[in-house]
């Protein structure tokens, strides 16, 4: 059995340190927001986890295309790894958003475009997991997974647009700000630093977890192979 790569261990430690720094920055470096107070600090990790979620779904669609073109098992393992991680992170983002929304919007949940789209995205990738579970043949499982990852990723922007056409109250903090968003605010220097640093840290966390998960997927494939050999 191949041992854990050295650089992966190093990356683990770096990720842990970076994350601790991010937590410290959120609590001690970033200033308190004037109207929302401490609850606004959820925002840094909320956007970062949502970003990791979207990143993973995008990675899954890209490796899905690669799998269909090149037909190599490693792309299937990578696609499953990306979607598993993203499902969890996207769910964390939804929970963090609810924690923020409770005092600011005065409700845990509202059927706003982004929240609705987020729910549908979670459902799409939950369906992806169910599809994979229902198929035994690894080759077919990989092909169907790739096809569904591509379809799912294509439908997300259309879903978002169609729900967006029905008005929003979600604030747009980065990019052009929409004054109709409830609970929107503009970021000061230290806030921006913390925000972009959080994005960076969570991207590193994603890479680290992704590596672990791909490694695990490869080992699982090997176990499956050996088991077939033994039973044959």
């Amino acid at each position: 059995m191949e041992s854990k790569p050295r650089f992966l261990s190093i990356l683990d430690s770096i990720t842990a340190i970076l994350f601790v720094v991010a937590v410290v920055m959120v609590f001690f470096y970033a200033p308190l927001e004037r109207t929302m107070g401490a609850v606004q600090k959820v925002f840094y990790f909320h956007v970062a986890t949502a970003w990791v979620g979207m990143l993973g779904f995008m990675v899954a669609a890209v490796v899905g295309i690669l799998y269909l073109v090149k037909n190599e098992r490693k792309y299937d393992i990578a696609g499953l790894a990306a979607i598993e991680i993203s499902l969890v992170f996207f769910f964390i983002a939804i929970i963090l958003g609810s924690i923020w929304a409770r005092p600011v919007w005065n409700t845990w949940w509202t059927w706003d475009p982004r929240l609705t789209t987020a729910t549908i995205v979670e459902l799409i990738y939950a369906a992806y997991m169910m599809l994979r579970q229902g198929i035994e043949d690894p080759d077919r499982r990989a092909r169907f997974g790739a096809v569904y990852a591509i379809l799912g990723f294509l439908s997300v922007p259309l879903t978002f647009i169609s729900i967006r056409l029905l008005r929003t109250i979600h604030p747009v903090v980065v990019g052009n700000s929409d004054p109709s968003g409830e609970g929107s605010f503009s970021m000061t220097g230290p806030m921006k630093t913390t925000f972009f640093y959080s994005l960076f840290v969570f991207s590193v966390i994603f890479v680290d977890l992704f590596w672990h998960r791909v490694r695990m997927g490869k080992l699982a494939a090997k176990v499956e192979e050996l088991r077939l050999k033994v039973s044959a």
């Binding site: 569904y148 591509i150 294509l154 439908s155 259309l158 029905l166």
Partner: protein, 230 residues
């Protein structure tokens, strides 16, 4: 000359698949009867669930119609692919020396025809039962566009679903989250036409439906090869 005959072959194969589905259905009438009775039952249930009085009817009719079409459509899609799979017809089709996309479009057109038949029968029944005129050109356009997108994705996904162990429960779970844009746009556009809103307020939704149809017909056409590969 060779190119021309290739195109002719493609359409001949496509037509053969459509004709096979239609004539098989004409003899058994299993699928259409099931879809129709199911659709009417859904409308009946909505009648109790929503208390469809005159005022409520105006605002919820488009929603009720589209939920009915979506549910009946899933039933049809599942059944149409399951019969292919069970009796080994799918393998036979795949062995035939024709382009795979001809099979996809043939199955999709067959499914579309079944869906249209159900819609054409449900609309007048709904009109009579609830005393509301549903025969408006705008609404028919929405139904046409919405059904095309729904069937384009649905045919591809049902081909995948029937090859899975959990096939009977899998199709709606795979299909519904992907057709959310169609459902929103179709319900909004149908509602707009039923309330006689000006074209400018409905055109956005029609455009969205067209965009969805174009994207997903093209993508399903490209991906179909991969879901029938052995």
């Amino acid at each position: 000359m060779k190119r021309k005959s290739q195109i002719a072959n493609f359409f001949r194969a496509l037509w053969a698949v459509v004709w096979k589905d239609l004539s098989a259905e004409w003899r058994s009438r299993e699928l259409l009867t099931a879809m129709l009775v199911f659709a009417l039952l859904v409308i009946l249930i909505f009648n109790f669930a929503l208390e469809l009085d005159a005022r409520a009817r105006a605002s919820v009719t488009s929603g009720v119609l589209w939920v009915t079409f979506a549910f009946a459509g899933t039933l049809g899609l599942n059944r149409s692919m399951a019969t292919e799979k069970d009796r080994g017809c799918l393998d036979g089709l795949l062995l035939a020396p024709v382009d795979r996309s001809a099979i996809y479009f043939g199955k999709a057109i067959g499914n579309l025809v079944f869906m249209f038949v159900v819609e054409v029968i449900v609309l007048p029944i709904y009109s009579v039962l609830y005393n509301i005129n549903l025969f408006r050109p705008g609404l028919l356009l929405v139904i046409l566009l919405g059904s095309i997108g729904y069937v384009a994705v649905g045919t591809l996904l049902s081909t995948m679903a029937v090859q899975a162990r959990t096939r009977d429960i899998l199709l709606p779970i795979l299909l519904f989250p992907l057709v959310v844009p169609i459902m929103i746009a179709a319900v909004k556009a149908s509602g707009g036409f039923l309330q006689d809103l000006p074209w400018i307020e409905v055109s956005t939704w029609i455009n969205l439906l067209i965009v969805y149809d174009v994207i997903f017909v093209a993508v399903a056409f490209m991906l179909f090869d991969f879901v029938v590969e052995e």
